[in-house]
Symmetry: C2
Subunit: 370 residues, 2 copies
């Protein structure tokens, strides 16, 4: 095994779990939030800052890196981690989600997906084998199986076909997976259909993956729909494998995911919000561009001890956004990721103390009070 | 005196001088290059990085800060330095240059300048007294006198009138200058006309300024024209005051300025070039976006020991630019300013060793070889 999950404690209030994720590049406490470095860059931050605001495990996107700079350049550096000089651990997604969400799909065949480049329009093709080979050469610690990610509310019949195709793709990808220093995780699909989700989970677990991911959520469905799927899968998630909920990362969704046994998360939200001037605080999100912060000499979040909050005033950061100074996006990106890191630490502590429900109630009241 | 210049050594080869600039916020070796933080931000860099890449003395622009966030907000923080959390020293320009270069001038009167905001079109007015009062409240260590900066090749008659008006403005500004912790420097104008330049210098020196600046250069004239003015003024610059050449900062111009007795420089060039992917190296400027750097695993500049060159490859930085990742602009901005800092250190060393001509010959051959 390249990656190993070690269960440490299950919260008596919620069934949420704390554990250790052992990877070739380090051991990480879970539940963990992974900042997203789509193009081998967590937007605006340098590697020393990524180390500050993460637990040491981040994500990069195979689709983007395959297109720019391409695998040759990354292989010349020895993988994505040396390419971006990241000293920690890295997970790459399969490219599947981006192929389905960003590009102009031409045709999905049994063989793979024909599509056009999201910017240049160039004709491209990706098979499950291609995805695994690309991830092999990206040399991430954790690679993801290539899945189809249909719209959440696709017809039941289509979703069934798609789940079966994704299972066949998972087997094909597993068969060509070569990198001995890289774990491979399978992905559960099935949209809102609980029977399909359970079937997808059960069949995926027959393939010797080292982790199990839930895909196709946070793609536009309601929170109730997402939570229903998570609750239905919870009792069936295998204890010995890490559970990864892909693309999810708002504070409320993190809490519900964790209550339902999830160990790993990633989301572009904290950095995307930051670039629009939206900052996390103990009392919820604030838009730093708002006029009321013009002369506010307090930090972004009084309760935060990150270097941004220890240094700058809301008034100064608002000025940076009003003056269109790039430093503003950088400072809020740093803070938002740091905020989530501390949030996840508090959650792990609450699980250890068998008090995650209490923590959640207090947090939700304070964060979503407005 | 708030600011004091202490002469340490004059280069026997060139007459260039090394000295100490004593300011309320620290003492700095000269010649010095001041990075520009136009809107209280050296673009993309946080204050700890500004400290890395500067000698501790930077510049901000009065025109921009007056318009955004305005003096009230900056006064609430106690000045620009606490506003941006800058621990070093700060010089503010007068706003004159920006009024004349950025805005839509409506009318120049004896009283001051009527103009329109460079973005909103709002009607505005700035007098010499306004400029000084704004700079007083910005609380910089060094304020600049409000000058008219006409086009370099304006008619002789107009330039003469303008020089006289700038002298009257200088006296009016000096009369209202209140901040006891702030020095005030006068500015020499006169375009290419040596007689006007000398007259402007002589008359400006009659006002008890604590430093003398040369303005109206690097505004589109040829290098020969700039150098001619500098050479003509050199014998007349007072030994006991610091000499500041405004807005100049390419390596060749820095060398010529320093040979002609200049102690202080500022320029947006290193950061502006950086944002377009142009990086300084010992062998001249390179455009990091060029295809030839696609798989180049060496640092931006082999001879540089900045954190960017110690960390990242040209190939990675090129990728950031190709992928439109903001980190690219940040890394090159940091490097370019660091490069100039080291360049200025080498120059000061050469002056101390009476070998600035030798240094210049070697540097120019290597840097401008292509």
């Amino acid at each position: 095994m390249t990656v190993k999950y070690e269960l440490k404690h299950v919260c008596k209030q919620t069934g949420a779990r704390v554990g250790l994720l052992h990877t070739p590049s380090g051991t990480f406490e879970t539940p963990i939030f992974m900042p997203v470095g789509t193009q081998a860059s967590v937007k605006t931050l340098d590697v020393s800052e990524i180390a500050d605001v993460s637990e040491g495990l981040i994500l990069s996107n195979t689709y983007h890196l395959w297109l720019q700079p391409g695998t040759d350049i990354i292989e010349a550096h020895g993988g994505v981690k040396p390419f971006m000089k990241w000293q920690g651990a890295l997970l790459t997604d399969s490219g599947g989600f981006q192929v389905f969400s960003l590009s102009d799909i031409r045709k999905i065949t049994e063989e793979g997906v024909h599509f056009r480049h999201h910017k240049s329009g160039e004709k491209l093709f990706m098979s499950p084998e291609d995805s695994i080979r690309v991830q092999n050469s990206l040399d991430s610690d954790i690679a993801m199986s290539f899945d189809e990610c249909p719209p959440f509310h696709a017809e039941y019949e289509y979703m069934k076909e798609s789940v079966d195709r994704t299972l066949r793709w998972a087997q094909r990808g597993k068969a060509v997976h070569q990198n001995k220093n890289q774990a491979l995780f399978g992905i559960v699909q099935g949209g809102p259909h609980i029977d399909l989700r359970k079937y997808s989970l059960e069949e995926t677990l027959k393939i010797p993956f080292e982790g199990i991911a839930i895909g196709g959520l946070s793609v536009g469905e309601s929170k109730t729909e997402m939570y229903t799927v998570l609750e239905a899968l919870k009792p069936h998630l295998p204890e010995h494998l890490p559970h990864y909920l892909m693309g999810v990362g708002t504070p409320d969704d993190l809490l519900v995911g964790i209550e339902n046994g999830i160990d790993m998360f990633d989301c572009v939200n904290p950095t995307r919000l930051a670039r629009h001037g939206s900052a996390y605080t103990a009392n919820g999100r604030i838009s730093i561009k708002a006029a009321k912060y013009e002369a506010d000499l307090t930090p972004l979040d009084d309760a935060c001890d990150c270097k941004v909050c220890r240094t700058y005033t809301r008034s100064y950061i608002r000025h940076l956004f009003k003056a269109e100074e790039a430093l503003g996006q950088r400072l809020v990106s740093y803070h938002n990721l740091y905020f989530l890191k501390q949030f996840m630490r508090s959650i792990r502590e609450a699980i250890q103390n068998d008090s995650l429900s209490d923590f959640k109630n207090t947090f939700m009241k304070q964060f979503y009070a407005k």
